[in-house]
Symmetry: C2
Subunit: 429 residues, 2 copies
């Protein structure tokens, strides 16, 4: 992608109403733009990251046979009257009427619809276990939307719903999802901390929040220091709680083994048993013809919030530092002196070689490149590259290129290595 | 994917309220399920097709530098008051109020938001041309939703918006999109007919509808028979109109060169000049500091409708016949006698070999396989395979397998070829 043709409207100015790093940096790098309070346009740079995140989530969901579908954004109120949550949900639910006066709402979550799909098709124990997920837009009418997409009103969420024949099955589904979440967040370069949680409005009696470590997080986490080296299995039983659940008097971990860090919630999983299946009278028949109410769980990841959380956990004073797995591009080529013929020639050559679509390149390892060919100053290019935070920068400048040298800069460490254009092509191709 | 674990609830019964082939077949094959009038759940089989279609659209948009972003589903009413369309749009627009009493609506289309994004960032002629697109959910409150997802209320749409400095630029953008659409539909195995159109509520003065040929289509198309062999360039100038625009007295094509066919509208492109940029007072400065109102166009493809349209254009009395490029799976293996050990062994072997994730397989050519391992009758398996319409069926039956023979059936032609399991693995790997 040529930067001169890419719509990433970067800015030097710190937006007046943005208070936290992710909000400031997402606005300044041209990732998002406010459409209304708590409602954001997602510009091309952000969509590339959303797609990367969604792709990783999809792979890990597929691995545990959680199947991708779409519930709907607009749903009829009657399902929620059936479950008993319609009144209870309060003003965060965006309620509306269609042209015929029917009561509808914009999905804040989809437990009722998942149960509805299940009852339409699954009548026998043989249809279990079943796990369905979607990555879809939701709306929660927050009274005080703030911090950009961290606490927005319209947001992208991954939500999954599991159905099992008994508690053992439901627990296995819960643990599968637990492990899938740990893997999902780790693949994104994050350190997930699963904390024991209350299940709040969703209801239920087994629940974990997934927090990721970030100095600017709004939660304070207290956890056993063994957690950072624990296996997936151990993670579930190691002590970890957030703010309101921490009591120094009852904490089972001695002070010298207790870690205290700031975190941001990016996922939440719930086991709630037969809460919805009973409320909505949904059952299957077992081998002997007996009615069984399926045991359910639901599992969420805030996909759009995750972008902000990743930035909170990975940025510096110059801008974003994307983990490689979710970076909008793998590398960026900076032609530092666009008026210099040699710089243009070498930049273009590197770009063409790495960006090549010829048969020799393997689609799965192909690198995505942003080539900054804009006719602007060296300083602006360097500042934009650090702001946008692509993991690797290839710097092509008029001085070094005389000796057939370009520089490879690691955005995270700042380390710069000199090498020939040929060598750098070999490195990324 | 093992069919025994795949959520595709097929049915023999013809649904009472479904009148057209695509609606019947999408319900019977377990692709969609009604959540409310004109609002559908998209089950896993359908989502696989949606993703294939979206993937092709994305590739062809990227090729013309139409950049992927997301506008929002909920937008503030004031943008539409600015453009003058808020009252005019009528009851098809789903209007709503948030908790603070603000006027909002669920996007039926996004010209206003596209113009809003543009004016926030582009101030100079150097920011042009620009083309932005999204694949996103929309809502139009149809008075009589019908024909399943063909005329639903909540639907998935690709919409693009172009901005150019003058008419020549806008025309070039229009023609680029025209060609991209032809290519997009052809890649999906369809025959697109671009017909001259009125621009309706969007406004403007150059417009084409893209219809695809289907015997069950709701439009009647009249077009020059040269159209079927025309180049992309010729397509734009060859005579083709739908119903209301056809007048035998003024038709320039002699009767023996005129084709008459049924079609379904799946895309629509508009050039509307400065309609929105002037209404919303959006301008850039040219090289001499003069105000220029950008020339705009908008370009839509009904992504969810396209699934129904493809089925209308490609099915038979047994079920769907997917074009290869958009099929939910590339091939399906039917173990016809699940109690026979040899059948199980050979089916599994073929499945493992084709489904293999080892290093030797190239991700871009890897085939997606649905292995029907269910413990049901031969008849049910064959019927489901024809209903679901995966292009290739590998039949593993107890009689033939004694002689080391399996059958490869082409869903479209019905042609069956016998070959060894090894040969079939080589064919698809």
């Amino acid at each position: 992608m040529l930067f001169s043709k890419f719509f990433a409207p970067t800015s030097r100015d710190t937006p007046a109403d943005a208070k936290i790093a992710s909000h400031i940096l997402m606005l300044r790098s041209g990732m998002i733009s406010q459409a209304a309070s708590g409602i954001y346009y997602w510009l091309p740079l952000a969509v590339r990251v959303l797609d990367k995140i969604s792709g990783i989530i999809h792979e890990e969901q597929e691995r545990i046979n959680s199947q991708k579908m779409y519930f709907t954004t607009i749903q009829p109120a009657d399902l929620w009257q059936e479950s008993g949550r319609y009144e209870a949900y309060g003003k965060e639910m965006l309620r509306l009427k269609d042209r015929k006066g029917g009561d509808f709402l914009y999905s804040p979550t989809n437990e009722e619809q998942a149960t509805d799909v299940f009852r339409k098709y699954v009548k026998s124990y043989r249809g279990l276990p079943l796990c369905l997920y979607q990555i879809h837009w939701k709306f929660r009418d927050e009274i005080r939307p703030r911090f950009g997409v961290m606490r927005g009103r319209e947001f992208l969420m991954k939500d999954a719903y599991s159905f099992d024949i008994n508690f053992e099955g439901a627990k296995a589904a819960y643990m599968n999802m637990f492990r899938a979440y740990i893997k999902t967040f780790r693949r994104m370069g994050l350190t997930p901390i699963p904390v024991q949680a209350d299940s709040g409005a969703i209801g239920g009696n087994m629940s974990h929040e997934f927090q990721i470590l970030a100095d600017t997080g709004e939660s304070t986490l207290y956890y056993d220091k063994k957690l950072s080296t624990a296996s997936d299995e151990e993670l579930m039983i190691i002590f970890a709680v957030a703010d309101e659940k921490y009591d120094p008097n009852t904490c089972p971990i001695p002070e010298n083994e207790l870690m205290v860090s700031k975190g941001i919630e990016v996922g939440h999983i719930f086991y709630f048993g037969t809460k919805y299946s009973k409320a909505m009278n949904v059952f299957v028949l077992d081998e002997n013809g007996n009615k069984i109410y399926p045991e359910m769980g639901s599992y969420g990841i805030g996909v759009s919030r995750l972008i902000a959380a990743i930035i909170e956990s990975s940025h510096d004073e110059k801008g974003i530092v994307w983990p490689e797995a979710v970076a909008p591009f793998d590398l960026t080529i900076l032609n530092l002196h666009h008026k210099n013929e040699k710089c243009r020639e070498v930049s273009q050559k590197i770009y063409d070689a790495i960006n090549c679509n010829c048969c020799c390149s393997n689609a799965s390892t192909k690198k995505e490149v942003l080539y900054d060919d804009r006719e602007i100053s060296v300083g602006e290019k360097l500042a934009d590259a650090d702001l946008i935070g692509i993991p690797w920068q290839i710097l092509v400048g008029e001085k070094k290129i005389k000796n057939d040298i370009v520089e490879l800069k690691n955005r995270k460490t700042g380390e710069v290595i000199e090498m020939s254009p040929e060598k750098i092509i070999g490195r990324f191709r």
